[in-house]
């Protein structure tokens, strides 16, 4: 599977005084198994963009090809696309509603029309993937901690066996430990070959985990490159309301103070190595 996005444009409320050009000629290719970070300030078009990938929004112009097929072609099975491209919204725990965790995770596959047995099998599998202890399975999802609830919500999407998992700020409001738990889930998932697209406001998290970063600004895909290459543009990123990871700034300051360190370092680990080398 691969997703080809070909010059899509999206205009909100076209023809009214609220008309807003939210996506402008966005093109990219997303390959199977990639772990992509999508960053951009609030209102830059990130959310609009990811809603196109599973057909929640239809582009005003342009094409999206999923696995070689044009999703806007007449007769294309949108319902199937939505189960292949799973979307985890912001604060997904607000969508939990069932009386037990297990039932909640079964809800997605049940809606796909699968047999009870298959639903339960998938619920087991996905709860295991998100690392939730079995003793909780038959408790109410509302008794869990914030991070646990969020993992249950992610399991609910995984139970539909998506090929692409898109997460909109999955760590917002979580404490550092809860954040680490979510990332260890994502790191485990990537080993299964699933494609992950992560929308995040934390440059430090993106720098540590993803292989590729897409930067949206004002509806335009401004950068699409490896984390190192993207964060080299830290001055331009600041102009559009973003930043490089803190540690990159530290390394730049060290360089200015006469230490010959690697200013491309974007994680603590890299920074540490570089400093130890020169001392």
């Amino acid at each position: 599977m691969s997703i080809i996005v070909d010059k899509i444009n999206y205009i909100y409320e076209a023809g009214t005084s609220f008309e807003r050009h939210a996506l402008k000629d966005v093109s990219c290719v997303i390959e199977k198994g990639e772990f992509i970070g999508l960053i951009g300030h609030t209102g830059s078009g990130k959310s609009t963009f990811i809603q196109h990938l599973n057909g929640l929004n239809k582009a005003t112009s342009g094409h999206i090809y999923y696995d070689g097929q044009d999703i806007y072609e007449k007769g294309y099975n949108m319902k199937e696309l939505r189960s292949k491209v799973g979307l985890v919204f912001q604060y997904p725990e607000h969508q939990l509603f069932e009386s037990t965790i297990f039932k909640d995770v079964c809800f997605g596959p049940k809606n796909q029309g699968l047999s009870k047995q298959e639903c339960e099998l998938r619920a087991f599998e996905s709860l295991k993937l998100v690392g939730l202890d079995e003793k909780f399975y038959y408790n109410s999802p509302f008794d869990l901690s914030g991070g646990q609830k969020r993992r249950v919500a992610i399991a609910g999407v995984l139970a539909m066996k998506p090929e692409v998992l898109i997460l909109d700020e999955p760590t917002a409001g979580l404490d550092p430990k809860g954040r680490d738990e979510i990332f260890s889930v994502l790191e485990n998932l990537r080993k299964t070959g699933i494609t992950i697209i992560l929308v995040s406001h934390s440059m430090e998290d993106v720098a540590t985990h993803v292989d590729r970063i897409m930067v949206m600004n004002d509806g335009i895909l401004k950068y699409d490159d490896t984390p190192k290459n993207v964060f080299r543009h830290h001055k331009e990123l600041e102009e559009i309301g973003l930043a490089a990871p803190k540690v990159t700034y530290i390394m730049n300051d060290l360089k200015n103070a006469g230490f010959d360190v690697d200013t491309d370092a974007i994680t603590i680990e890299e920074a540490k190595k570089s400093i130890l080398e020169i001392l």
Partner: protein
């Protein structure tokens, strides 16, 4: 009047009994804007018949004193009790045991409730849940109008507080069309317009992008310095805590650490045990120390790190030239 002047000149030597009373009271007020004594709070869950199903101690015997004009940060993982603590400062919940005083008013006494809420304003995590009006200036005026401020003064206060958070140019904008950081600043202006002595913020930057986060934190420091508003900031972002006057760390409902940011962040391993982080520069210094470099603990700024590295480099050069 004359007495006042005399009083000033004599540096507090009291001439008149009445004044002496106000002086003492003011002095005590200055001591603490918020005081929690043996504060305990239990969430009690009942089944359909009203029998107690479970009791969850969200706050467990906490003692906190917050001085007026301080910038205070409260850290703790999700479920550590910090939000429940914040709700006590606004009399949204009352202590199960112990007491909380806000500006010397006991939150248990119901006749104080309204005055307490005017003294300690609260800003929550999600700006979208707090916005109700269609124009920014009306949004900011909503609070003062509700507490019965005369109309002319409302607009004065709206103008002043919008300027304080740098949102005056947006006064006629629709608040729902603003960015997250801007919305949160409008929410803060709405609180400032009620002239509280103290603002409690429960993870105000959790949903914001880096720029929005910076805007909000800068506004808070500005209010703290210029207007002497006491700021109580609850957050998960350690970088926001570096400039605080005092840091409190909560865990399982208990107050487990308290001190200056430097004292707190020099205990990297302990913070990690408490499911918390340290700022990146502190962590980098800590990691380098673990690799054998002689760097002191509790580095909070890049400047301090540079000084330490320069010292180490200097030592090495001396050794090499010997």
């Amino acid at each position: 009047m004359i007495n006042h002047i005399k009083c000033d000149k004599l540096k507090g030597i009291v001439v008149n009994e009445e004044i002496s009373y106000t002086l003492i009271r003011n002095e005590e007020n200055n001591l603490n804007i918020v005081k929690a004594e043996n504060l305990t709070f239990e969430y009690i869950r009942r089944d359909e018949e009203g029998n107690v199903e479970s009791i969850n101690k969200a706050i467990d015997n906490v003692n906190i004193d917050i001085k007026e004009g301080d910038f205070v940060a409260v850290l703790g993982h999700n479920g550590s009790g910090k939000s429940t603590f914040a709700k006590h400062l606004n009399a949204l919940v009352s202590p199960t045991e112990g007491s909380v005083w806000v500006d010397r008013m006991n939150t248990l006494e119901h006749e104080n409730t309204l005055r307490i809420r005017q003294t300690a304003g609260m800003v929550f995590q999600n700006p979208d849940n707090q916005i109700i009006c269609t124009l920014v200036d009306e949004e900011v005026g909503f609070g003062p109008e509700n507490i019965g401020v005369p109309e002319d003064e409302i607009w004065e206060r709206v103008e002043k507080s919008l300027k304080a958070v740098g949102m005056y140019d947006f006064r006629l904008a629709n608040p729902t069309k603003l960015s997250g950081g801007q919305k949160q600043r409008v929410a803060i202006a709405g609180i400032v317009a009620m002239k509280p002595k103290c603002i409690v913020l429960d993870e105000p930057t959790a949903m914001l992008d880096p720029n929005g986060r910076k805007e909000v934190i800068e506004v808070l420091h500005e209010l703290n310095k210029k207007e002497n508003v006491t700021i109580i900031l609850i957050t998960h972002y350690m970088e926001e805590v570096i400039d605080a006057d005092e840091v409190y760390v909560m865990n399982e409902g208990k107050l487990v650490m308290q001190g200056k940011p430097r004292d707190i962040f020099s205990q990297v391993e302990k913070l990690k045990e408490l499911r918390l982080d340290v700022p990146q520069v502190t962590e980098l210094a800590h990691e380098l120390r673990k690799e054998g470099l002689d760097i002191k603990e509790g580095i909070l700024t890049t400047k301090e790190l540079i000084t330490e590295l320069e010292r180490i480099r200097g030592l090495k050069n001396v050794n090499n030239s010997r």
